[in-house]
Symmetry: C2
Subunit: 192 residues, 2 copies
């Protein structure tokens, strides 16, 4: 049974104690489908670890259009940690796409951790690098590949998400319209 705490695992007894003392800044919550957990513009951004269900983060542009930034099924961490670290208002909405069971990490959890232990263990750093490389790949694909190629890559990268989230959100993640994705799927079904 996973948790962000796994990333902070340590032999250091002082750190162990510190983390134990911050356990009350973590809440296990059961949340129904369709709940908005964070709004764009909010300052105190929480971090969510998904134990069951699926969340997404997204923006809304000045034409009122949604753009999905990330899907977070079981085992994923989602949140605007960037904005938290940089002390800027969040750029992202976060909501639940299914009934979910999640660990909610309050802002104070990380604040306290950082104040008392101004360093980050390998596991956590490793996760940051991993997220960077996910984003790097996405930027390159958005610049250099067709919508169909991006959809095929999406199917490989997130094998079981397609059945769980509305198609229009997948389209939004790929940077295309729902109509375009529908046509790509039709074409792919016909060709094979």
């Amino acid at each position: 049974m996973g948790s962000i705490l796994d990333d902070l695992s340590t032999d250091n007894p002082i750190l162990k104690e510190l983390i134990a003392s911050l356990k009350d800044k973590i809440t296990l919550k059961t949340i129904p489908k369709g709940t908005i957990l964070q709004m764009k513009g909010e300052m105190a951004s929480k971090v969510f670890y998904v134990k069951k269900g699926c969340l997404r983060s997204y923006t809304i542009d000045n034409k009122g259009k949604e753009h999905v930034f990330l899907f977070a099924p079981e085992g994923w961490t989602i949140g605007d940690m960037e904005s938290h670290m940089l002390n800027a208002p969040s750029q992202l909405f976060i909501d639940t796409l299914e009934n979910c069971e999640i660990e909610v990490y309050e802002t104070e959890f990380f604040n306290n951790l950082i104040a008392h232990q101004p360093s980050m263990g390998l596991q956590g750093v490793f996760k940051l690098f991993k997220r960077i490389s996910v984003l790097q790949k996405r930027v390159i694909m958005l610049m250099s590949t067709s919508a169909q190629e991006r959809y095929e890559d999406f199917l490989e990268t997130y094998p079981n998400i397609v059945q769980r989230v509305p198609q229009k959100m997948v389209a939004s993640y790929l940077g295309i319209t729902p109509e375009a994705l529908s046509k790509i799927r039709g074409e792919m079904a016909r060709t094979k």
Copy 2:
């Protein structure tokens, strides 16, 4: 006078000594314009801190087209740290766009540092978050804005780069063709 070492600054005397002992894994180099420092597919990826000049990282897609991933003028750090941490072959080429003065950090520098001090200071973690938020913004802009909007944002984000790098590389960074950028510039000059 900057350096990656600034990000590792610490009171810890043991760590200080460790870093001092690794100084020979850092080389200050003067490199002429147009030198390729890293090839896609290489395993041992170095990290470069730019003291003077400008580097870029880029990929070449299966149609032979270049896609600029990042420009790194003075004060920036560039490298495929992702691939280094994840122990995967580099996805990126890196070369110099001007005559440069750079600090080259060998793979062993970070390996040793991590082996003896399996944690990362706040400054370094902060930089990782900053890079994540840069990439986050770029993904969202690629999905939701026109080529002209992206160019205007580019001019704000990198105020002085435009004069220093070839226009076709800016186009590549924006995810469009040189012809398209030329037309956008023409249009913008006419309109104002």
